[in-house]
Amino acid sequence: MKSTAAAIGLGIALLAAATVPARAQVLEIATDQSPVGLDPQVATSFATQLVTSTIYEGLTAIDADLRVVPALASSWTVSDDGRTYRFQLRSGATFHNGRPLTPADVVASIARVRDPKTGSPYASRFTSITAVEPDGDRAVRVTLAQPSAPFLAQLAALAIIPPESVAELARHPVGTGAFRFHDWVPDTYIALERNPAYWDQGHPLLAGLKFDIVPEAATRQLGLQSGTYRMVPSLDSATAAALQGQSRVKVLSTQDLAYSLIGLNAAKPPFDKAAVREAVNLAVDRGEIVDAAYFGKAVPAGPLSPALRDWALPVSAFDCYRTDPSKARKLLQGAGLQLPVKVTLNVLGSLQQVVDVAQVVQAQMNKAGFEVTLKVQEQGKFIQDWRGGNFEAFASLNSGGPDPDDYFGRTFATGGATNVFKYSDPALDKLLSDARVSQNPGERKRLYDQAQRILACDGPVVHLAYGTLFTAVRADVQGYVPNPTRSLRGLRDVSTGP
């Protein structure tokens, strides 16, 4: 009897030893939100992108330094007039269903994003494409109506999908990336396994990924400390501070593209007057906001993130960024307004970071001739008012992009898709459209410098601070470099073990 039990015990032990590979492990990742769907062309929230960035690839990718690097396109050439791109497809790239990638898949993927029926939020980025066609059996040619400098960066977000799987993509993703879908239990986990046929031989190094959905920040932190989770992709400043210095955990950080802002309605008094918008800039003290609301882990924000090293002007370039409450008051009086100027500030209540920032801003503005009432709103109501232009001013957090054109064009150009401020400046419109078609980096830089100067003081957005993106991993997780775009594509190079 005893020996049978021992034999069984030994058997189990052997089985366990046999099923755990020597090196490759499944990386357990704790994330806060369950994605609504996993279709990379339709669902674009952070929660979805976190997962899909490991399953799908675009023709290009954005690396940790925000540079465009080859992905499914191994190389490309641009015609002299800047309107035609020829992408050489990566040899050996296959979909997770086993079918090799063909130029027709690229054509179909671009067509699907542009099709209004798909409802892709990326559609507007690709309106300038006039033709997409296969060029031989390993290349694709894309023609644009006019040259577009941000085009290669924008392509990184366009996941290449197999057209035969379109119907099931929301639930069962099929990509070409380093990891392939295994199973998904809503609100519990999404499991991915290593793609053994990945085109980059020898990658990925992990056996798989498991995204555990853990809504409570304290639970994610404790799970990481106890080793249940081996990675928490984004931490708030307070949790990062608590984890820093613990021996079994590494806290990695990078400049976040997301920034806190005050939006001003340029179509309604009092912010229809440029002087009043400038007064807000003079009223706020960005250094104090960084200290009080970000525990010092942020940098004061101009219109472009300092992570965009090639483009962003330093904040010292903007005169209205020198805090001066008395000058703000004079501007308000000069605009013919009775002091204090009463303002209601809608606050996105679902993010504590935003609420903290708004309270500091309220105190600062009240010292400069305003009388600010905070209206902390639930997310649904906030979005409704934001979309409808039903606000005087709002405090929020926006995700930025890797190229200035996308953000500026969408937000500040007359009639831009997210220009909810109804802001319109013909001079700025001209700068942005010139910059978009310019093929000369020096020229583009000069145009965007001018645009930033206009937007910093006169624009409808008071940029406040760019936070830090904190990622925590267990000490044995090696080779991970956090990406400011929050993409987890870098996990293909990660390994675990001593």
Binding site: S34, V36, G37, T44, S45, G119, P121, A123, S124, V185, P186, D187, T188, Y189, D212, I213, V214, P215, E216, A218, T219, L222, G223, Q225, S226, G227, T228, Y229, E378, Q379, G380, K381, F382, I383, Q384, W386, R387, A417, T418, V420
Partner: protein, 316 residues
């Protein structure tokens, strides 16, 4: 007895109708509707698309018509489809019921099993230090919110046993040991406030019963104190306990909403919180209806049990 059963059933219908009207109105009165939230910050959507989507979801009808349609379908057992995933809401709800049921039932058992002896102990040790200690602890227990206690438990365990795997969820069928290991903390967090208040109920009614004449008679007969308490006093003292037991089942459901959030468990509570945030009307209505139904049925069952324990109740 039969009349009492029918009266209960009638009440059940009234309560469910009332709750369904309330949830229906409340979720719709929260500003921001499903269409707005689904489209989110993506502004590249035309007003026509918004209108079409609203019509598709039936949100363009008057509230009265919407409610009438929903009730009509619900009576046919058709509770609608989730706005987000397009799957029938029952398919979304059913896999979650097991998690919440396991938590609630275990917490209730845990609380009930400990509440009775603790309550008796408090009653018999009245005005001695053990009574005061337990009473103090029980007040702390009642006033401590489950989520705070849950987080504290997590911290404590992470210090005491940093390598213990106590987070997340594995089903009992897949891994019974792993399952129990992972429900210990949430069940404890959930049970503590219930245990504390049930123990106080037992204590109060035991104190009341111990003053009765028949207890003195029993003692006078020379019965050992243990028999006096267990055989004579406890049975009568259990009536108020049963009532609170039924109410606590409802309280536990509310508590599990929070505890599931803290311990990352895929239960009904988390499903509902998510559904409210997404304004997923059919899912919210169906899951609240289900919760109400359970609560009312449990209470009806408790009342019937009451009749079994105390024959006077049925006759009244």
């Amino acid at each position: 007895v039969l009349a009492a059963v029918f009266r209960r059933l009638g009440e059940l219908v009234v309560v469910c109708t009332g709750v369904s009207i309330l949830t229906f109105l409340m979720i719709r009165l929260i500003p921001g509707d499903a269409v707005q939230i689904m489209l989110g910050a993506n502004a590249e959507v035309t007003p026509q698309q918004i209108a079409a989507m609203r019509a598709h979801l039936g949100l363009d009808q008057s509230l009265f018509v919407q409610y009438a349609l929903w009730v009509g379908r619900a009576l046919h057992g058709e509770l609608g489809t989730s706005v987000w995933t397009g799957r029938p809401v029952l398919e979304e709800i059913l896999p979650r019921v097991g998690v919440t049921a396991e938590l609630t039932v275990l917490a209730l058992l845990f609380a009930a099993i400990l509440a009775i002896p603790l309550g008796c102990l408090m009653a018999t040790a009245r005005r001695r230090w053990s009574d005061y200690t337990i009473r103090l602890v029980s007040i702390v227990g009642i006033t401590t919110p489950s989520f705070w206690f849950g987080i504290m438990l997590l911290y404590a365990v992470s210090v005491a046993a940093p390598d213990a795997q106590m987070l997340g969820w594995v089903s009992f069928a897949d891994d019974p040991v792993g399952n129990l290991q992972r429900v210990i903390l949430p069940v404890t967090a959930l049970a503590l406030p219930v245990l504390a208040s049930l123990a106080r109920v037992v204590r109060a009614s035991m104190v009341e019963v111990m003053r009765q004449d028949y207890i003195r008679t029993a003692r006078a007969k020379g019965l050992p104190e243990r028999d006096v308490i267990i055989v004579h006093a406890l049975r009568n003292a259990l009536l108020p306990f049963l009532t609170s037991f039924g109410i606590m089942a409802g309280y536990l459901f509310g508590g599990s909403v929070v505890v599931e959030q803290v311990f990352a468990l895929p239960g009904l509570g988390r499903l509902m919180v998510g559904a409210i945030a997404e304004r997923n009307y059919p899912l919210v209505q169906a899951s609240i209806l289900l919760a109400t139904l359970t609560f009312v049925v449990v209470n009806a069952a408790v009342d019937l049990l009451y009749m079994a324990v105390d024959p006077r109740v049925g006759r009244a």
